[in-house]
């Protein structure tokens, strides 16, 4: 790691102000991704602002029947919280499918949203990478790209977002609450992460002086009919090759409502609400699920080593929806 200075934020406004004044500062909470990246010299902040003493460490009921997940609550405490287990099992399942117990005990909800890609070339400082060093080129496009994306990629970057939690949050229509120098605002989870386009070094729409304070879940948690299916190279402690978060509301055997988000295939959790609408009213069976799978992968573009992800994603979608329906 590089040498850096360290300070503790006493309030969210102080944290925002500190970040606004220091162009090379980073917030630190659980540190499970940031410290890792600093050890690889991918991140080299001149100052770390410790935000772990801020008061966003609770899970609270919301007046609208939803749940507010504090940004500093750990992934483990979120997944094992009774309200999450009972009302949002999709989220609990997604969180527990990722990382290890040790990492989930330290990693926070806010930090999970801000995870950086695990693209090999992003981590390898000896190779060009537009995300790490804008303008240097993308090594993955013509390189070893098995783990890279097949949807929403650009010639500048084909990296994927690695989070499981965010895939479930996208399906659940979660909202991210942030506070910055200009005050508070809400960002729908599906608009929080960006596509790479020609600025792959900017992962999210969070401004540098903004702090994530909470993630809000709406009242509907699809507790009866939801499933997170994660396909990976080994059955524990591996990132998703492809994952699908599926949630259904059924009226008899008819689909009354459906939510689907994909992980491991794009620079952000992949969700197409218009495609979901197309199967509402259909019988909840393989025909409808395959139709949705085709719609989600429309326009998908495989690269030398990852074209298999397109078919795999379709099958994963169908399986997740079938599991959710059963």
């Amino acid at each position: 790691m590089n040498n850096f200075t360290y300070t503790e934020a006493k309030s969210v406004t102080a944290a925002a102000a500190e970040a606004a004044n220091q162009s090379h500062a980073k917030f630190i909470a659980g540190g499970t991704n940031l410290i890792d990246l600093m050890k690889y010299r991918v991140e080299n902040p001149e100052r770390l602002i410790d935000i772990t003493r801020l008061a966003f460490d609770k899970i609270e009921e919301k007046k609208d029947g939803g749940l507010r997940l504090g940004a500093l609550v750990t992934n483990a405490d979120t997944a094992y919280h009774a309200a999450v287990e009972n009302r949002y099992p999709l989220l609990a399942q997604a969180i527990l499918s990722g990382a290890s117990a040790q990492l989930r005990n330290a990693a926070t909800n806010g930090g999970n949203l801000l995870q950086r890609t695990r693209c090999y070339y992003f981590y390898d400082t000896a190779t060009p990478c537009n995300k790490r060093e804008p303008g240097s080129g993308c090594s993955a496009v013509g390189g070893f790209n098995r783990i890279c994306g097949v949807l929403g990629t650009s010639e500048h970057c084909i990296a994927t977002h690695p989070s499981d939690m965010c895939v479930a949050l996208a399906a659940l229509d979660a909202t991210v609450q942030v506070t910055g120098a200009d005050g508070e605002r809400s960002i729908p989870l599906v608009e929080f992460h960006r596509l790479p386009n020609d600025t792959p070094h900017i992962d999210t729409n969070l401004q540098p002086d903004e702090v994530i304070t909470a993630i809000d879940l709406p009242a509907e948690g699809f507790a009866k009919n939801s499933a997170y299916v994660k396909v990976r190279d080994r059955s524990s402690y591996a990132f998703a090759v492809v994952s699908a978060a599926a949630a259904l509301t059924l009226d008899g055997d008819k689909i009354k409502d459906v939510r689907l988000a994909l992980g491991g295939v794009a620079h952000k959790p992949w969700r197409i609400p218009e495609a979901e609408q197309e199967i509402i009213g259909m019988t909840a069976d393989r025909t409808a699920f395959q139709k949705l799978a085709e719609a989600y992968l429309q326009g998908a573009k495989g690269f030398e080593h990852n074209a298999f992800k397109i078919e795999l994603a379709k099958k994963t979608i169908v399986r997740a929806l079938e599991e959710a329906a059963s």
């Binding site: 006493k10 102080a14 290890s100």
Partner: protein, 206 residues
């Protein structure tokens, strides 16, 4: 200075570790129940620390340690290099193997990804704090009885994961034991013995 706790491993009271230790500087002091020199750095509004080393106070295994640490120092290094608590092992340094597992506020975390500065007000438990004096914790005894250690490098972390499971679940199933050590890599492949040992410890503790 903290009193020497590690018995020399060599026949003539000479060990590789002590030799290596003798070639470098260690700065560690143990004071129980006092604030010591940390008070001199009592924070005004948002003080900035580092990049050089600063005084830190750590609560490890029921003792309060005062030592120095740089802001970029991770807990495993402070434990091993400054506090001589070398039971915690550093292997990958990237949170991928969990050999460096310690408990922070009773929860297992990777000490290789934990900044020392961040855990000053937390309760830290290392493998040295698992036994009760000379009496081994049942999970440690069961690891011996079931031959659950081969090269031994993953063992301290493995024991912390298994102990954490037993702390919150006195009667775990085999599947629950497997899940508890999912993050702990053992390249010798001792897993079946680790599972047996944990189930045996649960039985003895129950």
């Amino acid at each position: 200075m903290k009193k020497e706790e590690n018995k020399p491993a060599g026949k003539k009271g000479f060990s590789r570790r002590n030799f290596l230790r003798g070639t470098g500087l260690t700065a560690a002091g143990m004071v129980v129940g006092t604030k010591g020199f940390a008070g001199e750095f009592a924070p005004a509004a948002a003080p900035v620390y580092g990049p050089d080393e600063v005084p830190v106070t750590l609560s490890v295994n029921d003792g309060s340690y005062q030592t120095l640490a740089r802001p970029d120092e991770v807990l495993v290094d402070t434990l091993r290099e400054r506090l001589d608590l070398t039971g915690t092992k550093l292997v990958c340094g990237r949170g991928a193997c969990s050999a460096c597992t310690v408990m922070v506020d009773d929860k297992p975390v990777c000490s290789c990804l934990t900044l020392t500065m961040e855990v000053q007000d937390k309760k830290i438990t290392t493998i040295e704090g698992v036994a009760d004096g000379d009496e081994l914790h049942p999970i440690q005894q069961a690891f011996i009885d079931e031959d659950a250690s081969m090269c031994g490098f993953c063992t301290p972390g493995m024991i912390m994961s298994c102990k954490s499971l037993l702390d919150r679940n006195s009667n775990p199933s085999l599947d629950e034991v497997k899940k508890a050590v999912r993050g702990n890599l053992c390249r010798c492949g001792t897993y079946p013995h680790v599972f047996k040992a944990t189930l045996k410890a649960a039985e003895r503790m129950g």
